[in-house]
């Protein structure tokens, strides 16, 4: 194994909270505030890790397993993503399906943990999470299928290898896939057109409501897993949108990191300029993502 393969997982583990910080800073700039420091997410995680955990007597091991297994699953998924010019540590034929369903595992465990608490409020959030992700999943898988077919490779590494053989055909497919992945990124990470990450105790939220009964280090794990998930989807988006390579390792990594920062700023801009959609409108947004991904598949197949 090449040492450079570890660059991306380490960067992701180190910089995922920074990405959330950049999103928050962008939103603050739009609102005319100074906003929290860029490093605030690190401090939040640090603070949570030093607290004790409180468990309700009605909960079982599922609530405790939820955040830990999610974190492990997300780190595994990160290991399958190539980044910049660096290869992924884990790569095998069909790993794109494992990638998609590792996030499925995360979702299942978080939903199970939310239901385990027996709180009707958390059950409501769990129900929403499952409803929307059922629509986000075909969009992600169709987009990945289109890219895999275009690259002729059944693994994420080959798919994002950046070999743009015939730009006249591949660029429209890349754009459509990027649109689908972008919408899935917003939906899966509880960003604004789908879910408002700032609201607490409001009847519209999805992700936040599922971790209401998690506390201390568990909350830190769940939050860190969510940040890493956001990083993973953003890295996927960057891989699709920035397929060019210079051939110099540090330049490629720097380019990819700059693109990640741009994605973070983009999320901040979307959050500042859009209102959250009504819940009945969210499936339409996700269907639009499915339509884009389906169009990409059709373009590749023809």
């Amino acid at each position: 194994m090449d040492a450079t393969q570890l660059i991306h997982p380490l960067l992701a583990l180190a910089l995922a909270p920074l990405m959330a910080g950049i999103v928050n800073k962008t939103k603050s700039a739009f609102a005319g505030r100074n906003g929290p420091p860029v490093l605030q997410p690190y401090r939040d995680l640090w603070r949570l890790l030093h607290k004790g955990a409180v468990y309700s007597r009605t909960t079982s091991w599922i609530l405790r397993a939820g955040p830990i297994v999610s974190l492990a699953a997300v780190v595994t998924a990160l290991a399958m993503l190539p980044f910049g010019g660096t290869a992924a540590p884990l790569s095998f034929a069909g790993d794109l399906i494992v990638f998609a369903y590792l996030f499925g595992l995360v979702r299942f465990l978080m939903v199970a943990a939310a239901l385990d608490t027996g709180s009707s409020f958390e059950g409501m959030g769990a129900s929403r999470e499952v409803t929307f992700s059922a629509l986000a999943e075909p969009a992600l898988l169709l987009a990945l299928a289109a890219l895999a077919r275009m690259a002729g490779s059944p693994s994420l590494s080959g798919l994002l290898a950046g070999a743009v053989a015939n730009p006249a055909v591949s660029i429209p497919v890349l754009l459509l896939a990027a649109a689908a992945v972008g919408i899935v990124l917003l939906a899966e990470n509880a960003r604004i057109p789908v879910d408002d990450p700032n609201t607490h105790l409001e009847l519209t939220m999805i992700h936040e409501v599922m971790i209401l009964d998690t506390s201390g280090p568990d909350l830190a794990f769940a939050g860190y897993a969510a940040l890493l998930k956001q990083w993973a989807f953003a890295a996927l988006l960057v891989g699709v949108l920035v397929p060019w390579r210079t051939g110099v390792l540090w330049a490629d990594v720097a380019l990819a990191l700059a693109a990640m920062a741009a994605v973070a700023v983009g999320i901040g801009v979307v959050e500042s300029t859009m209102a959250r959609l009504r819940l009945v409108r969210v499936p339409q947004l996700l269907l639009a993502a499915v339509a884009c991904a389906a169009l990409a598949v059709v373009l590749v197949l023809r």
Binding site: L175, P283, L287, V290, A291, L295, R302
Partner: protein, 215 residues
């Protein structure tokens, strides 16, 4: 060049999906205007072998008329009729979106079978995209319940025909295209006035109510 044509064609297909999915009349009008501008740009980019004067004229007329004049006329009609801003289609947004994906498939299939005249160097995606735009327009006319969304559907059909025309015979088509554009201009102008009169007479522009009319 082929690269930009493909990008524009895909963008046009995406504006069609947005037409099917948007819930506000205003965003429908803006989307169809954007589509017109895209077509104008397509006319410039797609002109093979250097830009001819008629290509530029066609593109300019397209952009000005469809990007500026039509939306202005429609927005005025919208303002004066004090319309509720929701589209309220007869077929739901989710179903229309799925139908849209289905239509894309059908259009690609038809586009692959349609024999093109010899010597035409159109992008392989142009004909399906034009057909798709046309069909979305038809769908909006059938499924839309407001007179204004039907005008938008009409404009989408017009865009489809323009896209179709751009793929072929750029040499002789100038007069034909300008004629069609003039027709479309008159049609939108008259439709705006008619919508205003309908809404003043009946206090709504719901086309579904037409079936209840008896003479």
């Amino acid at each position: 060049m082929d690269f930009w044509v493909n990008c524009l064609v895909v963008l046009i297909a995406m504006t069609n999906l947005r037409l099917l999915g948007s819930s506000r009349v205003v965003s429908c009008v803006h989307t169809v205007a954007f589509q017109g501008v895209l077509l104008g740009v397509l006319a410039i980019v797609g002109a093979s072998g250097g830009l001819a004067a008629h290509g530029i004229v066609l593109a300019a007329v397209n952009i000005v008329l469809k990007g500026l004049v039509f939306p202005w006329l429609l927005m005025r009609a919208l303002r004066e009729t004090h319309l509720r801003r929701e589209v309220e289609p007869a077929i739901g947004f989710g179903a229309s979106m799925l139908l849209g994906v289905l239509l894309i498939g059908i259009c690609l299939w038809i586009g692959s079978r349609l024999p093109l005249p010899v010597g035409v160097q159109a992008s392989p995606l142009l004909v399906p995209a034009a057909l798709f735009t046309l069909m979305v327009g038809l769908f909006m006319i059938v499924a839309g319940r407001k007179a204004l969304t039907q005008v938008v559907g009409y404009l989408s059909i017009e865009n489809g025909i323009t896209a179709f025309g751009l793929g072929f015979a750029l040499k002789e088509a100038l007069l034909v295209e300008l004629g069609i554009l003039l027709d479309a201009f008159m049609a939108v102008f008259v439709m705006g006035i008619i919508i205003f009169h309908i809404s003043r007479e009946f206090d709504h522009i719901d086309a579904g109510e037409l079936s209840a009319l008896k003479d």
